[in-house]
């Protein structure tokens, strides 16, 4: 029994020994410039990205005779934002980071990232750069800020590296199984609905309670609702004649869109997949329980077990439209070599790299020239590239993420649950927007 304390003390000593036995050796050779890149690519993308980074290093050396090393670090997508926050606090931010397009604005307001147009080697105008990229993809990178003179000024805060939107996925097998019923309702089982009106009729037929099958399933956050709002012609904000910006989602078009979403759920054709604890649309679609969902190109591979088709978002009063998702690359203010970072961003979004990237991985290019050039055998991807043309990004409003999470998403949900009228739900959101968020645009001094 007397040995126990001895063992304990030995372990303690061992612990002390181990404490600093391993410290990360992170000193690169002196003549090599090292840039840290944080990325959230999946394993397959990561592999290609590694090749591209290596090619960039080579090219840069040939061009400038300077050795550059890109240190690629994979970060789990979920914890990226807090990680960036802490890294900034600790002065340990990376040089380049791949972030969701919705976050660029937040990072810009927090002065965490550099405006690329202020860098010495940015030898063109914002407008010129803008024209090189798919409009929906570059949009989230251009942010207007108030400068010290109180003037609004446009800045470019990042470059897109991946863009996407959602379109309508439909399960061909389920359509086939309900062939007779669809035909008797005057609907063609061989194609997807083209308008919302048609969509509702399809969905009704495809909802079969005894099989626990639903015609449709959706998320109901603002981003996922944008296909509805956009096709109904709703505007998020408008600028009045005197230049005053105000929220406009509660106008009639917005109300109609939300009422439509509500009707889908309350009439039972939508599965309620947005409710907590429910099987989400993707999973239900995979399991053959949801006949139609909205989803993006990221799921094309995952859905290979399903016999599905992709078509444009059904048209509403304002035609077809979608939302814009995707990732941008930004350069952190603390970077010691922002010009090299900019060089890499330009390289990665250049025509040739984008063509290679998108053809290998089956993605939508962000570079306009590549967009026209990418030949894809994948018919589904073609639909997305078509949909991209009508996609409308979400508005750029300071602290939009907070507004969404705190006000808009709950309001939409309450409306769909029937606890609020569409009118009231949207008015709440807009009131809050007008009162506490839009004024922030003018308060910020940079």
């Amino acid at each position: 029994m007397n040995r126990l304390p001895a063992i304990f003390l030995t372990l303690l000593a061992l612990g002390f020994a181990l404490l600093n036995a391993y410290k990360l050796m992170a000193t690169p050779p002196k003549d090599v410039v090292e840039l840290t890149v944080w990325e959230t690519f999946n394993p397959e993308e990561h592999r290609i990205f590694k090749q591209i980074a290596a090619e960039f290093e080579q090219q840069y050396f040939q061009k400038y005779g300077k050795q550059v090393k890109l240190k690629l670090e994979r970060v789990p997508f979920d914890g990226l934002m807090p990680r960036i926050k802490y890294a900034c606090l600790a002065g340990a931010a990376p040089d380049i980071c791949r972030v969701d397009n919705a976050w660029v604005l937040t990072l810009a307001y927090g002065r965490a990232i550099t405006a690329l147009d202020t860098l010495p080697n940015f030898n063109s105008t914002i407008e010129e750069v803008e024209k090189e990229y798919v409009a929906a993809a570059i949009d989230s990178n251009i942010i207007e800020l108030v400068d010290e003179n109180g003037q609004m000024k446009r800045h470019l805060y990042g470059l897109p590296d991946q863009t996407n939107c959602v379109a309508l996925f439909w399960n061909k097998d389920l359509f086939k199984q309900s062939e007779e019923e669809l035909r008797s309702a005057g609907l063609d089982p061989e194609r997807a609905p083209a308008t919302w009106e048609e969509f509702e009729r399809y969905a009704r037929v495809l909802t079969i309670p005894e099989k626990k099958q639903y015609g449709f399933a959706m998320f109901n956050s603002l981003w996922w609702s944008l296909p509805f709002f956009n096709t109904f012609g709703a505007e998020f904000v408008r600028t009045s004649a005197d230049g005053h910006v105000y929220g406009a989602l509660d106008e009639e078009a917005g109300q109609k869109a939300l009422e439509f979403m509500t009707r889908l759920y309350q009439s039972g054709v939508e599965a309620g997949a947005w409710r907590t604890g429910s099987i989400n649309p993707d999973q239900g679609f995979l399991n053959g329980k949801y006949a139609m969902i909205l989803s993006g190109p990221w799921n094309l591979k995952r859905f290979s077990m399903v016999n599905f088709g992709v078509s444009l978002i059904p048209a509403g009063p304002a035609g077809t439209s979608s939302n814009v998702g995707g990732q941008n690359m930004v350069v952190f203010r603390s970077s010691k070599h922002p010009e090299i970072a900019l060089e890499f961003l330009r390289y990665f979004s250049s025509e040739e790299v984008q063509v290679k990237w998108c053809e290998t991985l089956g993605q939508i290019p962000v570079n306009l020239k590549a967009f026209e050039k990418v030949s894809t055998a994948n018919p589904h991807l073609k639909v997305f590239m078509e949909q991209m043309k009508t996609a409308k990004p979400r508005p750029k409003i300071p602290r939009m993420d907070v507004l969404e999470e705190k006000v808009i998403n709950p309001a939409i949900q309450l409306a769909m649950q029937g606890d609020l009228s569409a009118d009231e739900a949207l008015r709440r959101a807009v009131d809050e927007l007008n009162k506490n968020y839009l004024p922030l645009i003018y308060q910020t001094q940079h």
Partner: protein, 311 residues
């Protein structure tokens, strides 16, 4: 004050023993706690520099506290926490005590059962939570399938229905933690002398009376301990709600109307605090924490008052 030489010497020795603990405590808990108190009176402007958030904070007096006390969501989160505590604390006590009584019998394989009941305790709450989400999902989950066999239909599913979401999460947590309570009670019960039960038997007590008049009063310290730790767990509850009642697009589970606000039916104060914190409103988060601490102090004080055990 006259210093007692012996006590002085003992104090020196004591502080030597305490030195490692206190050093780490001061650096990593004491200082942060005081610093948090300091920033609870400050707030960062919306456009604070991310590289210097703390430096750009400005003194605002009690504004953070006032805002919270005037915030319906704050009170709602406390209410949720209260309900959550009301669900979890008594049921974990009952379950722990029940298991302990069953396993105090001289049964074959009781060690096996003890291990099995304790095992879920060592699992990560987040993992357990996500697994339960899968089992509870409406229409397709195991539990819902069983419920519909019994012709019980819950609109939106157990986790999607505002009325059932919080209790369900509570029960999952109780089930996971049952083993811990079991062991606490088991040890307390094993300390009760057999003769007390024999005396009760001679006095003609039924099994229920023995439980009511002997076991429960004698395990009261454990009950008190469980109430206090349960309260603290409820006040800090975050992972379970994060795992079971949050989507990527909203935290705190099915939303309901509360006055002029929409609030999550499972928006516990721990979760609400986390959201404020995640948004970078460190001043407000600090104020929140200190308000929670005050509540915790009051609750433990009341508990101790009412459940004080005679020694």
């Amino acid at each position: 004050m006259k210093f007692d030489k012996v006590k002085l010497r003992e104090s020196v020795v004591s502080y030597l023993f305490l030195a490692p603990f206190l050093t780490v405590f001061v650096v990593f808990l004491g200082y942060p706690a005081l610093y948090s108190l300091y920033i609870s009176f400050r707030t960062a402007p919306f456009s604070a520099d991310w590289y210097n958030v703390f430096g750009s904070m400005q003194y605002v007096g009690l504004a953070n506290y006032r805002e919270l006390l005037a915030d319906n969501r704050f009170w709602w989160s406390l209410f949720c926490t209260f309900i959550y505590g009301l669900v979890t604390i008594p049921s974990s006590i009952a379950l722990g005590l029940g298991l302990a009584i069953l396993l105090n019998n001289k049964l074959k394989g009781r060690n096996f059962f003890r291990t099995v009941f304790y095992l879920p305790n060592v699992l990560d709450l987040y993992v357990v939570g996500t697994i339960w989400v899968l089992m509870l999902s409406p229409n397709y989950g195991l539990v819902d399938v069983l419920l519909s066999k019994l012709h019980i239909h819950i609109s939106g599913g157990l986790l999607g229905n505002p009325w059932t979401a919080l209790p369900t999460i509570g029960l999952v947590v109780v089930l996971k933690g049952a083993g811990f309570g079991m062991i606490l009670f088991l040890s307390a019960i094993q300390n009760i002398p057999e003769s007390v039960y024999e005396a009760a038997e001679i006095d003609g007590a039924t099994a229920w009376q023995k439980l009511r008049y002997i076991t429960i009063p004698l395990v009261k310290p454990v009950i008190l301990f469980m109430i206090i730790t349960g309260t603290m767990n409820a006040l800090n509850a975050f992972t379970e709600v994060y795992a079971m009642a949050s989507t990527k697009y909203g935290y705190g589970g099915p939303f309901i109307k509360f006055g002029n606000e929409s609030v999550g039916a499972t928006s516990l104060s721990g979760l609400y605090l986390y959201l404020i914190f995640e948004r970078g409103e460190y001043g407000k988060a600090a104020a929140f924490s200190y308000l929670l601490m005050i509540f915790a102090l009051i609750i433990s004080f009341i508990n101790q008052r009412f459940l004080r055990t005679e020694k």
